[in-house]
């Protein structure tokens, strides 16, 4: 049994949006633990509060109930030890080159001084195969390349946990698969802790070693499942994807769930 303390603990967290007219509950009393070197996937239908939950872990939103702890300390505000990769392509600063985008993150957060930052930025750009584009501006890159830069930037922070909100969702299927492989390769090299949000079952199975299933809006924890990276059958001959599907929808029939 692994009894190491969790890197990240989410403890009965409720998240709400207050608008002028009413209060929207996005996630309700969510609890889970993320251990060191986990590839922890949050999976659930659109609108179930995955992004909201991840933003709360990032410190951008305050829970209206419960607590989030990173290495035992309550999360109060955004911080570079929880580096974020967003779904949107516009997360790179357009006025900085690829290299400077990463250097900016490292120096502003006080992680490194400029000379060391340059070195580390170059190293991580090499890891995502973008060495040739070091001095390019973001608007000259393809969508997939931009996401790779964003991943390199977040990884260069060598954060306690890397938060990824559907980073590949806006990519075509081919590129997406390639990026999934690259991410796993990077993980193999450095064994960093990832929390990865997706609404694709195959992606969850491929990326995660542990999958959190959330109910439709407002999100509640339905299950936590282990994955070995492929869609294997259990002793009853049920595939993992079918089990996940069944759990999410309380049935095994077809629904409009994303299968790509």
């Amino acid at each position: 049994m692994n009894v190491s303390p969790p890197t990240l603990a989410v403890d009965r967290v409720t998240l709400q949006y207050r608008t002028d007219q009413n209060i929207v509950t996005a996630a309700y009393r969510i609890s889970f633990n993320v251990l060191e070197s986990d590839r922890f996937v949050m999976l659930g239908p659109s609108g179930c509060g995955k992004s909201t939950l991840l933003k709360a872990i990032g410190g951008f939103i305050k829970p209206s109930e419960g607590e989030i702890r990173l290495n035992g300390l309550a999360v109060k505000e955004p911080g570079p030890e929880r580096a974020f990769v967003f779904q949107e392509f516009d997360q790179l600063l357009p006025w900085k080159t690829i290299l400077e985008n990463i250097v900016f993150a490292l120096t502003n957060s006080g992680t490194l001084k400029r000379p060391e930052a340059l070195e580390r930025a170059t190293h991580y750009l090499e890891k995502v195969n973008l060495s040739r584009f070091i001095n390019a501006y973001p608007h000259t890159l393809s969508g997939g390349m931009k996401q790779r830069v964003a991943i390199a930037r977040a990884m260069a922070m060598e954060p306690a946990v890397l938060l990824m909100d559907e980073p590949f969702a806006a990519l075509d299927a081919l590129t997406r698969q390639q990026m999934q492989d690259e991410l796993l390769q990077l993980w193999e090299d450095t064994k960093f802790t990832i929390i990865f949000v997706t609404h694709s079952i195959p992606e969850a199975i491929r990326i995660g070693n542990r999958i959190l299933l959330l109910s439709p809006h407002p999100g509640q924890v339905k299950a936590e499942i282990n994955s070995t990276g492929n869609d294997s059958m259990d002793e009853n001959g049920v595939k993992l994807s079918q089990r996940i599907h069944g759990t999410l929808f309380n049935k095994t029939s077809d629904t409009e769930f994303n299968h790509d």
């Binding site: 951008f60 967003f86 600063l93 006025w95 502003n108």
Partner: protein, 293 residues
Amino acid sequence: MTDSLSLQSKNDRPEFFNELLEPIDEIQPASVTIWQRLYGQGVLRKFGILLILAVIWELYARSLNNPLVFPAFSDTLVALFDGFLSGELLSAGVATILLLIQGYALGLLFAAILTTLASVSKIGADLLETLTAMFNPLPSIAMLPLAMVWFGLGDGSVIFVLVHAVLWAVALNTFSGFKSVSQTLRLVGQNYGLKGPGYIFKILIPGAFASILTGMKVGWAFAWRTLIAAELVFGASSGSGGLGWYLFQKKNELLITEVFGGLLTIIVFGLIIENFVFNSIEKATVRRWGMLQ
């Protein structure tokens, strides 16, 4: 489901696979003639148009043959050079530019203060919105009589009017630029530890730079027109006597060729600032960053 459909279609075309791809050659850009290259230069095209206009001017003035109403282009050029050589036109131009720089800089400073207030507090935002709604429609030159009462007949009142011309356009554009900086960029800034002034200078200002520049251009255009008009009204009493005053004086002495020379100077100054200064800034920043097409 696809398996329940029979999608059989006739297909006689053989399949093929390329084992080896062609090596990639450098592709030379299509050759262009010298004329095409010259035509491609915006500056040259515009210069050509100016040349044609000058010729039309010259011909028309000569056929009219009344230099008191419409002097020829060549005479205007001569008057222009004389004006510069004698130092009269030059010192008038310098006086105008100096005043403009002071008013413009002060306007930018106040705009910065107002937008900072507006971005840190709701009441500041309301203040900015109310003030711009009130004062933006008011032509700055209309403030001149009042300014003369408050600041006397010196540079002070002209600078006051200039500040009024620059302030609202810049503040309004900057603030709306700040508001339109994408949510993702804001979160990225916070993620990497930016707060307060750092956040404003490293995320909001560059993120809103396209609209800040627009505001600065509009403010500049307002200021330039307002200044010439203000000088026309009371340049001499301000002691400096800028370009506007030069025009007024020469008209009184019925030196119409000199008036044309003064007008030409005003146009050229305006062109230089708009085409060289602002365009260069734009090219080096927002166009380079792909934030403006």
